[in-house]
Amino acid sequence: MASTATVAAPRPVAAHHAEPTGLWSWITTVDHKRIGIMYGVTAFLWFLVAGIEALMIRVQLFVPNNHFVSAETYNSLFTMHALTMIFGALMPLTAAFFNFVVPLQVGARDVAFPRLNALSYWLFLFGGLFLNVGWLFKAAPDSGWFAYAPITIKAWSPGLHMDFYVLGLQVLGLSSIIASLNFIITIVNLRAPGMRLMRLPIFTWMTLITSVLIVTAMAVFTIAVTELMFDRMFGTNFFNTVDAGADPLLWQHLFWMFGHPEVYILIIPIMGMVSEVLPTFSRKPLFGYNVMVFSGVLIGWLGWGVWSHHMFATGMGPIADSFFSLSTMLIAIPTGIKIFNWLGTIYGGSVRFTTAMLFSVGFIAMFTIGGISGVMHSSAPTDLQQTDTYFVVAHIHYVFFGGTVLGLWSGIYYWYPKIFGRLMDERLGKIHFWGTMVGMNLTFFPMHFVGMFGMPRRTWTYGPEQGFTIWNQVETVGSFIIALSTLVFAINLFTAWKRGRIAGPNPWGAATLEWSIPSPPPVYNFREIPQVHSRMPLWEDDASKAGGIPHGKVDEETEQVTLGGAAIAEMRDPAHDENKMSAHDLGIHLPPPSFWPLVLALGITSIFVGLIFRQVGGAMHNLWYLMFAGVATTILAIYAWAFEPGH
């Protein structure tokens, strides 16, 4: 019985909660740290797969009129590159950090629903595999990650290609929604005593905002793909423009209503990570914490009102175009606030340029370039010139690669010692950083030029007389430099795991709770749930770091925001910020392992496998019975789950 292990006797605690070993313990784990590691490893592998797809695209475009891959394969390559990067690599890599770091940052022993957490991992794994199985049947999705209907209905996209898309993305969407529900509750409800909302570490705040975006935006997307699935499989008319008079813009509206929040889903967590890394290595609290939180909320909020800026070329009319132009330009304000606050954090600090810090600083620079080309797109007349050219490709890669990926790498260098207890090699790290910076700018900057010259995106090849050749060759060279740097990174990740220097609990001298416990953390995280008194628990006693901030200092006791010595705002709101978590320890109670999450994920996935292979010729014909097997397994697993003892 767990309650016998009390905090007064530390040794029995460790003895009662030894780290389980063996493959089965990983399959049945409900520990947020292990699930985080599984998310991270799986997502990194998908990152490599999607990277190889990108390299094949670059090889194809190296010379004019190339025949390295066929036009059909090329369509699948750019589609799968986007889908695998977004749903297989980048979102799950952020989810890996949500899993590992957020419960530690709020001072909890696990997430609110450990088994649901395991379920979302298994669904992510199976969904990603399902989506990629299309390659084996030469039927990988091939209509772009946006899958614009009506071109994706059965009449114009025959074959299984887009069936893999509509079904695979439902599994992945379900996984994201479940995971985000879990994080919202964990952050709101499992905070350690004394941790008010405005004392949450900034990464946790950004996780909360992202999770809210996911549970809302993913729901819209789920309905969009469900409607497309019904069109493709059961002959409904949602996107049947020819015979039924359907609206050709319905899909675009539904898709971008999800698709634009989605880009904030990919960048807001990164903003949180960078906001953790910069203060740590500048030895200064984050500049303007409150403003950073509210600008994050504002970005998430405005992110819901800009979707049609992806549709300026569809002829929505001047009023819609003006509205979405303006709302898009508005987003530049909270984003700009964040960028200036990051600079304010570094300003006057004692900066240490570790690899994590370099990537964060690189993130600010590269993300700003991507942000500026984004503001260019927000103007509808300008956007008409840029739509469907490589200029847009340059923009999205500056925000996704220059933003999300650089920030993720920063986060990995920063939290790796906490996760595995060992430091990554700084020398290899710096090679990785400079290689990545040079490579990404060689790859993506010339895309602005070829885009302006008129090279259309998603094009299989181009002619020698069009003048795109030299820049495309520079881009391809750049992409291989990125690939080599990523190889260095992978070697670093792997060797540091066994041979890195032992990190100790707090190698960077960081301020948040996760650095107060051993690295790697024990199964129960905190032997005693910490009592939190301020935003930076580990810096409280260090006046050189906690005080002496030139501007925007927050007095933790009164929560007064002061600027230049004058009080400008009162942050305290007892009615909403009261943390009722009790301080006394009730003993360590950890949920037992469970294999039902895996069974449930298998059941749900079987339904989709059965659906797609229900009437296909060839070796895989008629797997329709898997649908019913899947439904039966799902029901069984839900009941077994609900009545599982110990949970």
Binding site: S3, A219, A246, H647
Partner: protein
């Protein structure tokens, strides 16, 4: 259904919920889930409304005359009004069931949980009848925009009612076996949240499809 944290029957802290907000995590998760569901239904309703009156061929939901040809409306408003009323009344049964569960009155809890499930089943029965009838009248998933949007929206709602009925019957069986005492009233409260949500959504769907032309 899943909680490592609260109300897990610890003898040490029987009724104490140890969370930051004082709310049980499962309940809060369910509210968040309902938030997500609102967007799911919202998208389907938006699709229905975007395509309302835009079918370019019959059958049509309401009486309409196009180019001098009269088409009879397919929707059976009286029948669905009755089934709507029954569904709404089942929410009352749900409230009564929760009342008895919280007071540990086993037989009455079981009875009213079953009554709630019965209300949902009658609603489903009417829906099955309506769907079959429509099918024979030529309203199918494939017939036109009305058919597609109507079946997906009401079918999606019907699937939710079905899950709710199974959920309620499970709770009724637990109650019958004496496994649903007052200490587990939260299970019923959460089921109630779900059931009321499904009703509230129908209150939105019913006028939009049946009453507004």
């Amino acid at each position: 259904m899943d909680s490592s944290h609260a109300l897990d029957g610890h003898a040490a802290h029987p009724a104490h919920i140890d969370t930051s907000t004082g709310l049980d995590s499962r309940k809060m998760a369910f509210w968040t889930f309902i938030g997500s569901e609102c967007l799911l239904f919202g998208s389907l309703i938006a699709t229905y409304m975007a395509y309302k009156g835009r079918s370019i061929k019959p059958p049509y939901p309401h009486d309409v005359t196009i180019n001098g040809v009269h088409y009879e409306g397919k929707l059976n408003i009286p029948l669905t009004s009755v089934s709507t009323f029954i569904l709404l009344m089942s929410s009352v049964c749900m409230v009564i069931a929760l009342y008895y569960v919280q007071r540990g009155m086993r037989n009455k809890s079981t009875l009213w949980l079953l009554m709630t499930a019965l209300g949902g089943s009658i609603f489903l029965g009417c829906q099955v009848f309506e769907f079959t009838h429509f099918y024979h009248e030529g309203v199918t998933l494939q017939s036109n925009l009305f058919g597609s949007t109507f079946y997906l929206l009401t079918g999606f709602h019907g699937a939710h009612v079905t899950v709710g009925v199974i959920y309620l019957i499970t709770l009724a069986m637990m109650s019958h076996r004496g496994r649903l005492g007052p200490e587990r009233a939260l299970n019923v409260e959460i089921a109630g949240l779900y059931w009321h949500f499904v009703d509230v959504i129908w209150i939105v769907i019913f006028p939009l499809i049946y009453l507004i032309r």
